[in-house]
Structure formats: C-alpha cells, structure tokens
C-alpha cells in the first residue's frame, strides 16, 4: 500500500498520539471551566473564613459595619442587595414582558426587527455607562423633581414623612433600583423575545382560528407555552441585578446604616466590595469583604442555577 503511508502522515492515524493530545487538551479546557467555578468558591471561603470565625452566624444578621472598631455584619448589605434587586425586577419585568409581547405579536415586522436589534445591542452596553447616567442625570433630576416635592408635601409626623425622609441628593436605594431596572430591561426583553419566538406558529394560528383576540392568544397560548422559560428569564434578570456592581455603586449612596425609608442611602454587597476592598484598613476588614463576596456568590448561584434548570434546552 504505497499510497496509504503518506495519507496517514498527512491526516493523522486514527490512534495517533496527536489526536489523543488534542482530545486531552479539549478535556483539560472543559475541566478548567469547572475548576474556575470551584476555585471561586474555595478562595472566597478561605479568604472570608476569619470573618465567619470571628462573628459566627451573627455576621449574616448584624447590621453593624464599622472598620474602626473592627465589627462587621453583612445585614445592611444583604438587605440592600435584596431590596434593590427586587424593586428593579418589579419595575423591569412588566416592561420587559410588554416589550417582548409587543415586538413578537403586535408590531409590524418592518419596525419590530430594528427595535429588536436595538434592544439587543443596548443589552450589551457596559454597566458603568448606566451608572454614570444615574449619577449625573437621573439623581439630580430625581432629587429636584420627585424627592424634594414629596418631602415638602409630607406633613411633619405623618407616615409619609418617614417614608420619604433622606438626604435629597437623589443617591438612594430607590434611584439605584431604577438604574438597575433600566439596565436589566433590555437584557430581559431581548431574551424574552427569543423565548416567545420559539412558540410554534401552528399553536397561534389554531387559537386565532378559534376566534381568539390577540390578547387571548398571548394570555392562553403563548405565555403558558413558555411559562417555565419566562420564570427562568426572570431568575436570570434577578441574578444580574443581584451581582451588578458599577451601576449601583455610583448611585446608592454607600451608607452602612440600615435603610429606614425608600429614599435612604444604603449599600449592596457588590457596592461595598467595590468601594472598600482596594483600601481595606485591616486583615479583618478584607476578610469581612471576601466573606460578603461568598454570601453574594451563594445567593446568585442558587438563583442562576435555578434559572438554568428552568431554561434547559433553550439556546439562551
């Protein structure tokens, strides 16, 4: 077989070492991904261990954060993270649903396509841009046109006064949530649109054939068909909001006092780490910040894992 030899050398023998090395390299790369995630957990656990050891379970519930007296509790940051994320979701979810439904069901294709592309592109704008807009545009406007009038109109001693109290500079939990909402909105809308597109046209046509109005088609056919996926997308949006750093750090006011009104400044886990880690005053301060990171990781991991389980099989 004179021709077989050069062919083998050029294409590689099926059992040649080159192929084995290549497969091993691919396998190693895939394993590296797992190792990266494992490494994050382990390194955060090791780095934060001193804080957990010192403060015990109280680390999660105490709302005192004082680098001077070296007392650290994650309570304020955890509450701030949860409040801002859920408020953001509350604002963004109905809007994202509306946008996705509008683009898939009602909008003429000629306009729908450009809007959809624009929404997808905007989902990729880095969060620091949203943060700057929040700091320089939204916060001053909000302080002057919403916060001040509300504070002025609240009667002294009434519940409104408590609700709206705070420094009127627009940097507070509420505006931080708004920015988060604006940020996760295009992302959620884009993913939800893709989800709605997976509904087979036959289902829609059948429903229309029965005389359903477009509203009834969406409510009784489209949404039920992708229900699991919609919950998955909500979880993805929540995961994004929970871990978002830059957009929030700019505008939340970075206070470690427990928030006592919607216009009070506060902090989230991510904003606390971003603000303090590079300038941590002591080993315990760093450890407490890393421990905060571990808490954030566990929260987001649960949310994201849940989202991925619901979205399994979807190309999202």
């Amino acid at each position: 077989m004179a021709t077989a030899a050069p062919m083998e050398s050029r294409f590689g023998h099926p059992k040649a070492t080159g192929g084995i090395i290549f497969e091993a390299a691919c396998f190693a790369a895939a394993t590296l991904l797992l190792a990266a995630l494992g490494g994050v957990v382990i390194s955060l656990a090791i780095g934060g261990w001193p804080a957990f050891q010192q403060f015990g379970f109280g680390f999660l519930t105490s709302s005192e954060w004082n680098p001077v007296t070296e007392v650290y509790g994650a309570g304020t940051a955890i509450v701030g993270t949860l409040i801002t994320s859920f408020l953001a979701l509350l604002v963004a979810l109905p809007l994202a649903l509306g946008v996705a439904v509008f683009l898939v069901e009602f909008c003429p294709r000629v306009i729908a396509q450009p809007i959809a592309i624009a929404v997808e592109l905007l989902a990729g704008i880095p969060s620091i841009v949203y943060g700057m807009w929040g700091l320089f545009v939204l916060a001053p406007w909000f302080a002057e046109n919403v916060q001040m009038p509300l504070m002025m109109s609240a009667e002294p001693g009434s519940w409104q006064e408590t609700l709206f109290s705070g420094i009127p500079n627009g940097a507070n939990i509420f505006t931080a949530s708004l920015i988060l909402a604006v940020m996760i909105l295009p992302y959620m809308a884009a993913v939800m649109r893709e989800l709605f597109m997976t509904v087979p046209p036959q289902l829609r046509e059948a429903a229309y054939g029965l005389g359903c109005t477009p509203f009834e088609v969406v409510r009784s056919v489209v949404v039920p068909y992708v229900r699991r996926g919609v919950i998955g997308v909500i979880m993805l949006g929540l995961g994004r909001a929970l871990g978002e750093t830059m957009a929030v750090t700019f505008i939340i006011g970075n206070s470690h006092d427990f928030p006592d009104s919607v216009f009070a400044s506060g902090s989230t886990i991510a904003s606390t780490i971003a603000n303090e880690f590079a300038e941590a005053t002591s080993d315990m301060h760093s450890a407490a910040l890393v421990a905060l990171g571990l808490v954030l990781f566990l929260i987001t991991f649960i949310v994201l894992a849940f989202a991925r389980l619901l979205l399994r099989g979807q190309k999202i």
Partner: protein, 278 residues
C-alpha cells in the same frame, strides 16, 4: 354582543399597554444614549488619544487608559479564545453527552452570568495577594474568566450546527477525529468562532468591577504587564466620582468611547454571524 365588545376593548387595552411599555423602554434607553453623546462629543479631540490622563485642572487625554484597556483585553481574549474554543470543542465533539459534559455545560452557563466583581476577588486571592502587587496580568486573567464562558458557549453551538456529512466525509478519507475537527469542522465554523470571540470581547471591554482590585489603575503611561495599569473603565470610575469638572468631562468622553467600541464590536459580530449563516 356585549361580550364581544368587552373582549375587543380588553384586547385594545392590552395592545396599548404593551406599546406603551415599549415606548417607555425605548425612551429611557434613547435618553441614556443622548446624554452619552451630548456630554461626550464635546470633549473628543486628538489629545484624548495622544496625551495621558491629567492632574485636575491641566490638559490631558486618556491614552494610557486606552492602551491599558487594549493590552488587558488582549491578554484576556488570548486566554479566553484558547480555553473557550477547546472547551467548546470538547462539549460539541467529544464528551458533551456524558454526565460530566452536562455538568460542565451547566456550570459554564452559571459562570456566564456570575457577578463579575467576585471574579475580581478570586483573581485577587490567587494572583495579586501571593505576588504582593496589583498587575495588568491579573486584570487580563480576570477578564479571561469572564470571556471564556461566552466563547465556550458559542463554540459549542456553532460546532453543533455543522453538518454530520462533513465529519463523515473526513472520516471516510481516513482522517483521524482530531484532524477532522481541526482542519474541517473548525474551518467550516470559522465565522461562528470569530463571532464568539467578538461577543466575548464586547463583554469584557467595558467591565470595571473585576479590574478594581486586580489591575488597580495607574495615572502614568505603562505597558509593563507586571505593574498596575490604567484601563478606560477604572479611569472613568475614578474620574466620574471626583469633584473636578474637567475629570468628569473626561469620564463622559471615556464612557462614550467604550459605548461606541462595544456597540461596533457587537455590530461586527452580528454581520460576521449573518455571513456565517449564509
């Protein structure tokens, strides 16, 4: 008849609400882009690209930050492309159906949207603290961790789209599996692989949080990857929160540059992807 009217009104209301939602969303996003352009465009001149960042009150640009961003994204993408394409290939061609493959795919998807600041903390623990110093290299590695899952995911998706007949044809000629993947499948999927790389690049080019305590930032021009280095996002962060008007103006210019860069990379990615589908 009354019921039909009721249903029709309900439908109009619903369509209206959805339309208004779209309008609100678009307005918010247009407002953000508008502030970006209106506040950033005035500061654009050649000095931005030729001079390093100034002290407050004096003239300067962002050249050190731009170069730093390019270097760090370069390091990040170099790692992400190698690891991501190999890992994606393994998932698509070798072990994607095994339990282990499914575990890898699942955790890769989780990693895809993991908070970037935690990646920063992780890289700080493994690359900054042990070597007692912030470095551009650490920043690049942190960015690699963010881009790799994207490259992996797109690689797997695009390889799965390649027709089986290609693989069979290669095998029938006596080529080994590795040869078929490298010389036939990768070649056929080239445009898709490029798209994955571009998507990853777009994602990391605006990332700030993981760089805050890995590359730290540097007010001087530096190309030494073992030393702290400025990047556009970290410089924007520092300038925007400062009390100086001229620094804040530079921050807007930087933000606009980043937004333009990210948008154009994404658009190029889309065009390449469309070519690939043809």
């Amino acid at each position: 008849m009354n019921r039909a009217l009721f249903r029709r009104l309900g439908n109009y209301l619903f369509v209206g609400v959805c339309g208004v939602a779209t309008l609100i969303a678009l307005t918010a996003l247009v407002m953000i882009l508008w502030s970006l352009v209106s506040k950033g465009i005035g500061g654009i001149d050649l000095k931005i690209f030729t001079m390093t960042q100034p002290a407050p009150g004096s003239e300067g640009g962002l050249s050190n930050a731009i170069v730093g961003s390019l270097i760090m994204c370069g390091i990040g993408m170099a790692i992400a492309l190698v690891v991501g394409i190999l890992a994606g290939t393994w998932l698509a061609e070798y072990g994607g159906d095994t339990t282990y493959g499914q575990v890898v795919r699942f955790f890769n998807d989780v990693l895809l949207s993991a908070p970037s600041i935690l990646v920063g903390l992780f890289v700080y623990e493994i690359l900054v603290q042990p070597f007692h110093g912030f470095s551009a290299l650490a920043g690049g590695v942190a960015l690699a961790f963010l881009a790799t899952p994207i490259v992996t995911r797109t690689t797997e998706d695009i390889l799965n789209l390649q027709p089986h007949a290609l693989r069979e044809a290669g095998m029938a000629l006596g080529a080994s599996r590795a040869f078929v993947i490298r010389k036939i499948i990768w070649k056929a999927a080239r445009a898709g692989l490029v798209t994955g790389g571009l998507l990853g690049f777009a994602r990391i080019s605006g990332e700030t949080a993981p760089l805050l305590f890995t590359s730290l930032g540097n007010q001087f021009f530096s190309t030494n990857v073992t030393q702290p280095m400025a990047t556009l996002p970290t410089t924007i962060f520092q300038f925007a929160l400062s009390a100086y008007d001229d620094w804040q103006r530079l921050a807007w210019v930087g933000a606009m540059l980043i937004a333009i860069a990210v948008l154009s990379i994404n658009i190029i990615g889309r065009i390449v992807a469309r070519e690939a589908r043809r």
